[in-house]
């Protein structure tokens, strides 16, 4: 019985310690922000690694998600004779939810995992400590550019996702099943507003970019410096980032769209 309580207490303390470490790490990364402005080249390289290289998966997924939404929306709405509303449905689902959330999940899998593995491997091969030996701060050189690259890339990728998804929905609804194109756009434009829908979607994706970048870098930086430790950190990074994104999405939706 006492063993059970001890295990519970240990787990809680470990969790709290991890959270504390993560918060301290974030503080140091934010303090290193000027480095990103002083050396924009580091940031550009990281935006290439996490943003440009994620474009293909975002484009392809967005197109198919939009097409599926268009088709499912058409099937459901045609029962009610309201197929003109399919544009509204596709656009609102994408801009409010699927754009930011699916982008963040894909980003966690495609870019977040590579960030964790890269930083974890740097730690395992003692590159980080040798940088410190040479009086180069690894938080400034390694972590800060990667974090701010994620923070910038996710909103841009989410915008691309939503726009391409709407286009995919248009392709299916108007091109394949024959919904009126004008009604598709006009209903959509009447229902979607800049402030409530698009701006909130952008805010969501900024929050998710922050979250995924933070979790990925923290897991890599705190990884046990062995091959199994790095692989475990990479898995945990993706799992935790995905769960955090989904959980926080519910909270943000409840706050934003009342």
């Amino acid at each position: 019985m006492t063993g059970l309580f001890q295990a519970l207490g240990q787990r809680t303390l470990n969790g709290l310690r991890g959270l504390g470490e993560a918060v301290l790490l974030m503080g140091r990364i934010l303090r290193a922000a000027p480095e990103v402005v002083v050396r924009p080249r580091l940031l550009v390289e990281q935006i290439y690694a996490v943003g440009v290289l994620s474009l293909v998966i975002i484009l392809v997924s967005a197109l198919f998600v939009g097409m599926v939404l268009g088709l499912q929306g058409y099937y459901t709405l045609s029962d009610f004779g309201a197929t003109e509303a399919v544009g509204t449905m596709v656009a609102l689902s994408l801009v409010r939810e699927l754009g930011p959330v699916v982008t963040a999940l894909l980003f966690a899998g495609r870019a977040g995992s590579s960030l964790t593995a890269e930083v974890g491997l740097m730690k395992a091969t003692e590159q980080l400590s040798s940088m410190e030996m040479m009086a180069v701060d690894p938080e400034r050189r390694i972590l800060a550019p990667r974090f701010f690259a994620a923070l910038l890339a996710v909103p841009l990728l989410a915008a691309v996702f939503s726009a391409v998804g709407v286009f995919g929905g248009y392709l299916v609804a108007v091109g394949m099943v024959g919904v009126d194109g004008g009604a598709f756009w006009s209903n959509m434009q009447n229902a979607v507003t800049i402030q409530d829908d698009i701006l909130n979607g952008v805010i969501k994706s900024v929050v998710f970019g922050f979250l995924v970048g933070w979790i990925a870098l923290h897991k890599g930086y705190m990884a046990v410096p062995t091959s199994s430790g790095v692989s475990r950190a990479t898995t945990l990074g993706v799992v935790h980032a995905s769960l955090a994104v989904l959980g926080l999405d519910f909270l943000l939706t409840a706050l934003m769209f009342d």
């Binding site: 080249r41 550009v44 390289e45 935006i47 290439y48 943003g51 440009v52 474009l55 009610f80 004779g81 309201a82 197929t83 003109e84 509303a85 656009a91 801009v95 890339a153 909103p155 841009l156 990728l157 915008a159 691309v160 939503s162 726009a163 391409v164 709407v166 009126d180 004008g182 009604a183 756009w185 006009s186 209903n187 959509m188 434009q189 009447n190 979607v192 507003t193 800049i194 829908d197 698009i198 952008v202």
Partner: protein, 151 residues
């Protein structure tokens, strides 16, 4: 990969992202319309346009010939003035055609239906369709029915 290529790709990426945001702002939330098909404008005044919206279809015999471009309230007659843009391909619509507002679908999506007249002269840019029939407002019909029942 050379630094120059990386920079070019990042530039392309940022441009694509910003363009996507512009598309979302302009095309999806409808701040302005980006593309315009060639065509000519005609106007029509209705006593009541009901739920007619901008960009609603204008059709003739069930074929879409144009779109509603603007709806405004005429300050003198207190009627709704509907400005329509008819596709250039449909240039031979008789000038004395009538316009009516109909409903399609269960959710009450409304469109303008044109009934052809007999004149040989076609509608031209800036013409006004004089013969119009307003949208059917269900509450008004029910109201008339109820008053009729009471008499």
């Amino acid at each position: 990969m050379s630094q120059r290529l990386v920079e070019i790709w990042v530039g392309v990426f940022v441009a694509i992202g910003l363009a996507a945001m512009m598309v979302l702002a302009l095309q999806v939330s409808g701040l302005t319309e980006l593309r315009q098909p060639p065509g000519y404008h005609v106007t029509a005044k209705f006593d009541n346009v009901g739920g007619l919206r901008e960009k609603a279809p204008v059709s003739m015999a069930g074929v879409r010939v144009g779109r509603v471009e603007a709806i405004r309230l005429d300050p003198d007659s207190h009627q709704a003035e509907v400005k329509m843009r008819i596709n250039e391909r449909f240039g031979a619509i008789p000038a004395d055609s009538a316009a009516a507002i109909y409903t399609s679908g269960l959710l009450g999506e409304q469109y303008v239906g044109l009934e052809p007249g007999w004149e040989t002269e076609p509608l031209a840019d800036g013409d006004r369709i004089t013969e119009t029939q307003s949208a059917v407002v269900l509450e008004r019909i029910i109201g008339q029915f109820v008053t009729g029942m009471q008499d």
